[in-house]
């Protein structure tokens, strides 16, 4: 009994692949996003791009389970209850708890029953990795916009998720901080975390993407490997978006 259980665990060790089949998100009866057919495979760094209001945030929330699904399915390799704790999400607008930095970063571990001392030690490590080592005792709500985003990233990574969703995590960061974050994301990827990130920064997309999802009008307009997408987009909207033209 025990043995077969262990064997099962190694087979379904991760929540990936994550598959959306005809997934639709409606808000007050209006379809915001979908129907979406998309598979997030076991490896890589997916970049979600598209103009403002094209549905990037809604798509990420749908995959993470924050947005209620109104049609179709989102399935993954683990039962729902287990899948939930293996994912993390970095919000477009950082959510700061009314706690000091170190306790904010430690919070996901505390929720999982890790004792205070261990959680704080790990949180201190993570704070230093994202460059918040100097601000451990500061109340999280008084951090600058960029610092809040760094805190969000540390808080999302501390639980060692299978998959991490990021919604424009570098929007408020300067060039140097952006590079630091990118380094951390690459490290997380090397350690086995699957990354799905929305961004408007074309340079960043080119640097990080292994594959691209181009959103347009609430649907996946074009998707494929990054090299192919950037060198030869197949739709005029994607081509215009890449070259920096205004997409109508």
């Amino acid at each position: 009994m025990l043995q077969s259980e262990t064997a099962q665990k190694t087979v379904h060790n991760t929540i990936l692949p994550l598959t959306l089949t005809g997934a639709i998100a409606k808000i007050r009866g209006k379809t915001i996003v979908g129907p979406i057919n998309l598979t997030i495979g076991p490896q890589g760094f997916t970049i979600v791009m598209g103009p403002n209001g094209s549905g990037k945030t809604t798509l990420l929330r749908l995959m993470h389970g924050l947005q209620r699904i109104s049609g179709g399915t989102v399935t993954c390799g683990l039962p729902d209850a287990q899948a939930r704790v293996r994912q993390s999400y970095v919000f477009q607008t950082p959510i700061m708890m009314r706690r000091i930095v170190v306790d904010s970063i430690a919070y996901p571990l505390r929720l999982r029953g890790v004792d205070k001392k261990t959680a704080r030690t790990k949180a201190t490590d993570w704070a230093e990795r994202v460059g918040l080592g100097h601000a451990l005792d500061r109340p999280a709500p008084v951090l600058s916009g960029g610092e809040k985003q760094k805190l969000s990233l540390a808080r999302a990574l501390i639980s060692g998720p299978d998959i991490l969703f990021l919604d424009e995590p570098c929007a408020n960061l300067d060039g140097r901080a952006t590079r630091e974050i990118e380094t951390i994301l690459r490290q997380a990827q090397a350690e086995g975390t699957r990354l799905v990130m929305a961004t408007h920064d074309m340079g960043q997309a080119r640097r990080l993407a292994s594959d691209v999802v181009f959103m347009y009008g609430g649907c996946v307009h074009e998707t494929g490997p990054a090299t192919a997408f950037f060198s030869g987009p197949t739709t005029p909207q994607a081509a215009a978006f890449i070259s920096g033209d205004i997409v109508e």
Binding site: H64, L66, R84, V85, Q87, S88, Y89, F91, I95, M97, R98, R99, Y107, P108, L111, P139, P141, V142
Partner: protein, 234 residues
């Protein structure tokens, strides 16, 4: 006007002579209301938070009823508790009528809706802020309530102080269930009521000023305690 100045003088005399009767009355007032606030908070704060994080069929109605109960007339509460605790009542065997415990019970009933309702409003705002994060981190219902109560503790203190204010100045219910018995269930408000009835206006005024001073003192103490904890950013 004359009676007010006399009242002030009387209050000064009572306080500075450390009148033993006065001290006894003040001590009982504090004991009854502080106990009631602690018990009402233990019920009302989690209840307020629970109503925020749970969606159920009659949620709106429950909240409306709770808000209405804030205005519960103390005299009626006193009457109901009296009937429940009297010899013939269902809890008569406990022999609690005309004891401080009966007064605490009555005040808990009066204060709990107030604390639950105010805390509900505070926590609702915090929940709107935390919602996505706590769902994303898959916090359990209990963990959500704990996070909201802990992070909202400063605002919740205000709810508790409001409860204290209502309890310490309340006379209708404790008069009925306590009976205003000298050296046993007499508190500041019932003593004031008694002295006024006897025509001892200056003495009643004196007690009144002591009551106000007590309320202010408790509020100041709690506020200074909570402020020294950390910077006042939230």
């Amino acid at each position: 006007m004359n009676e007010i100045t006399q009242g002030l003088a009387e209050a000064g005399r009572l306080i500075f002579s450390l009148d033993p009767d006065l001290l006894e009355i003040v001590a009982l007032s504090l004991r009854v209301t502080l106990s009631a606030v602690v018990i009402a908070s233990a019920i009302g704060l989690p209840l307020g938070a629970w109503l925020v994080v749970n969606r159920f069929r009659f949620r709106r109605h429950t909240i409306a009823v709770l808000n209405a109960l804030m205005g519960l007339p103390p005299v009626v509460v006193g009457l109901v508790v009296y009937m429940l605790l009297s010899r013939a009542g269902p809890f008569g065997v406990l022999d609690l009528l005309f004891t401080p415990t009966a007064m605490i019970i009555a005040q808990v009933i009066i204060i709990t809706p107030l604390i639950a309702s105010i805390s509900h409003q505070t926590i609702r705002d915090l929940w709107a802020e935390y919602h996505d994060l706590l769902i994303s981190l898959s916090a359990t219902r209990r963990q959500r309530i704990a996070a909201l109560l802990w992070d909202g503790r400063r605002a919740l203190l205000t709810a508790m102080l409001a409860g204290f204010g209502r309890g310490i100045g309340e006379v209708g219910a404790i008069m009925i269930v306590g009976g205003n018995i000298d050296h046993s269930t007499r508190v500041l408000t019932t003593a004031i009521s008694l002295e006024t009835g006897k025509g001892n206006f200056a003495f009643a005024m004196g007690l009144g000023f002591v009551l106000i001073a007590l309320a202010v003192l408790v509020n100041l103490t709690i506020h200074s305690l909570s402020r020294t904890e950390r910077a006042s950013v939230w």
